[in-house]
């Protein structure tokens, strides 16, 4: 039993914190977020050079095989820096889907490219009616000879605009909400019949609505087995949930630190706000929530690397519930303690708060996971 960071994790942490302090100030981040493609291609190449794109991938494809606890360190830094580059889409979701379900040929072809920064991915699995239910897939494939024709739409697909390839969940048999009959297709971005509506998200990222009109794809484009993608999608989304819990820890740590600093310098009634006990205790509540959230993020990521399926679900859902609670305990409180300045666009705290709030709405919100947590042992 040892919960200290390993040497590798410490090194990774150092690399990341140097990168953030040298090249990722809040002003730089805001510029990237608002202009052009919404992030920096140069940063992405730096990520590749620093080895960050290879963290979860097996050595034979050029990765480091650091697992979820390795990703946890990267995601924590992504949270601290409010990083806008498409790491979650490309590495955590897309890359891991290919590693988990892809054929040997697909893995050998795609993962090394990804690690070198030459391939960016997006994962399209959300639909208008699906909410958080992963089996709720109605985008249809009709089979004709060796081809499939896809018709339907996907919503809130992160980084689709800049992705080279998009992985799509498709209903290949059965009815909407059936767990059987879902398949994964790998599409080239420019595939004929795909159109997109691109937009900014409220927390400074980019996403798209995707429309598929008789898009022809060959049998080779399937990742994994036909009709059998559901358990893979579920596990990848679980991994991504644990990853964003680590991101949330980074966000929360910044909200807490910045709020504590502000309490020390802001004066009212001729004394610093930090003299007021009512405010001290709120800051302590934020600190306690931060530590408890860090604990659950550790647990969720450790369990992904080596726990039973039910242990994984309990730990991940617990962490997601806590993430949801931290929206108010940490996020709303940080804004309140900053007073009027907290609700200005200029202040970084407002943007950390927005990210934290949106993290709750990814991959199942607090209530979704509270229910899931309680159901594990009943099944």
């Amino acid at each position: 039993m040892n919960l200290e960071l390993t040497e590798e994790q410490c090194m990774l942490q150092d690399i990341l914190s140097r990168f953030l302090s040298d090249q990722y100030t809040f002003d730089q981040r805001q510029k990237l977020s608002q202009q052009g493609i919404g992030y920096s291609e140069q940063n992405w190449q730096n990520f590749a050079e620093l080895g960050l794109l290879g963290i979860p991938f097996e050595e034979q494809y050029g990765g480091f095989n650091f697992g979820a606890t390795g990703l946890m360190i990267v995601m924590d830094a992504i949270g601290k820096g409010l990083v806008v580059e498409p790491y979650l889409s490309t590495v955590v979701l897309g890359g891991q889907l290919i590693q988990k379900a892809g054929s040997e040929a697909q893995k050998l072809d795609l993962i090394p490219q990804l690690i070198e920064g030459k391939l960016k991915l997006a994962f399209a699995y959300i639909e208008r009616q699906s909410r958080y239910e992963l089996s709720n897939v109605s985008l249809k494939a009709e089979r004709q000879a060796d081809s499939f024709f896809l018709t339907g739409s996907k919503s809130v697909v992160f980084n689709a605009e800049t992705a080279d390839k998009i992985i799509v969940t498709v209903r290949t048999s059965g009815n909407n909400r059936d767990k059987n009959g879902i398949s994964l297709f790998l599409l080239d971005k420019g595939a004929l019949g795909v159109s997109m509506k691109n937009y900014h998200t409220v927390d400074g990222l980019r996403a798209s609505e995707l429309f598929f009109d008789q898009v022809e794809v060959s049998h080779d484009a399937i990742i994994g087995e036909l009709d059998a993608a559901y358990p893979i999608v579920e596990q990848i989304i679980d991994g991504a949930s644990a990853a964003i819990c680590a991101e949330a820890v980074g966000v929360i740590s910044q909200l807490r630190e910045k709020t504590v600093e502000y309490l020390k310098i802001r004066k009212q009634f001729s004394r610093p706000l930090s003299d007021f006990q009512v405010l001290q205790h709120r800051a302590v509540d934020m600190f306690m929530a931060e530590e408890q959230m860090r604990s659950l993020s550790y647990l969720a990521n450790i369990k992904i690397d080596g726990g039973s399926r039910s242990e994984q679900i309990r730990a991940i859902s617990a962490a997601k519930v806590y993430l949801g609670d931290s929206r108010s305990v940490v996020g709303e409180q940080a804004i309140q303690l900053h007073g009027g300045v907290g609700v200005t666009d200029e202040l970084d705290v407002a943007h950390y708060y927005k990210r934290l709030t949106m993290l709750n709405n990814l991959f199942g919100d607090r209530d979704f996971h509270l229910e899931r947590f309680g159901q594990v042992e009943l099944v």
């Binding site: 039993m1 390993t6 302590v284 659950l296 617990a318 519930v321 806590y322």
Partner: protein, 399 residues
Amino acid sequence: MDLNYTPEEKSFRQEVQIFLKENYPAYLQDKVAKGVALKKEDYVHWQKTLYEKGWVAPGWPVEYGGTGWTPVQKYIFEEECGAANCLRLTSFGLVMIAPVLLKYGTEEQKQKYLPGILSSDTWWTQGYSEPNAGSDLASLQTRAEKQGDYYLINGSKTWTTHGHYGDMMFALVRTSKEDKKQKGISFILFDMKSSGVSVEPIITIDGLHVVNQVFLDDVKVPIENLIGVEGEGWSIAKYLLQHERTNIAQVPRSKKQIERLKLLAEKEIHNGKSLLLDPFFRAKISEVEVELMALEMTSLRALSKVSVGESSSMTSSLLKVKGTEVQQKITALLMEAVGYFSLPYFNGVLMDGWQDGTPVGPEEAAFLAPHYFDWRKTSIYGGSNEIQKNIVAKVVLGL
């Protein structure tokens, strides 16, 4: 990062399990499981058993009777004791005064007091709080005047747990008036049978007698009963507060209580179905479980720090606050689970269980509301949760 235990730790866990299975009596297991009040002989019985095994004082140095266990082994022992519904030994002797004697006591004092603490032949009580000194403990007013070879003590101590069983008391007393209230406080021991000591019961919110007020009226205490230097009692008191806090969160006990809550809720019927299947009640259980899961992991992180030789004192306030919040929420849910049967009150049943074999409602029900009320104390004692937050604000956040 690794949550797995070593083969040695696993076999240690097994050894503890076997020992508890063979030596922890069923009647005590039953009492603790149901929440029946524990009597002095219950504590003494279990402490003697552990004493004979050599496991009574894991926190002590080996030469004085400690076990020599690693921090992880101590944690495993606590976990297994929680899982087996073991009663918690009273802490006043073993984990409060003993470490003080070991650090500040003279050789004579150690020889005189430590053996009785270990064997449970001497019962210790704590003389800290006073009617006008609670959270602001340093404002205590009980006076000790030096007169030749003894101190003359006058004043009153309160919330004295097991004061009515007590043989000895360790107390903070004022030996001089100084510019700062923390100065001039001394740490002293005295015999509860001394003339001038009287113990009056305080009946708590659950209707039971556990705590007392102790009146000290011209009590003569030999000067050799002073611990450390006169006037330096406050730093001793602070040392005592820092000692042995890894189990402060009471995670193993709370896990057991969650298990109990689920068993109880499963049997209760709500709208034609098991209460455990009711989404609202289920959600409330899950919320507590999530907090407890986080707390367990935070405890393990603190333990891991201790194991690699780093201090974890910064988290002990967190563990105390979150630990007591979890415990209190569980007592509330246990009470809610039995609905109407939380109402009937039987003082004798709280003391001795259902002797006539015909409980009103579920057998455990009569204990649940009194427990819920009694458990409010946990966020008040040991430095109230608000005091803990003051500590974190100052020490950790620098506010």
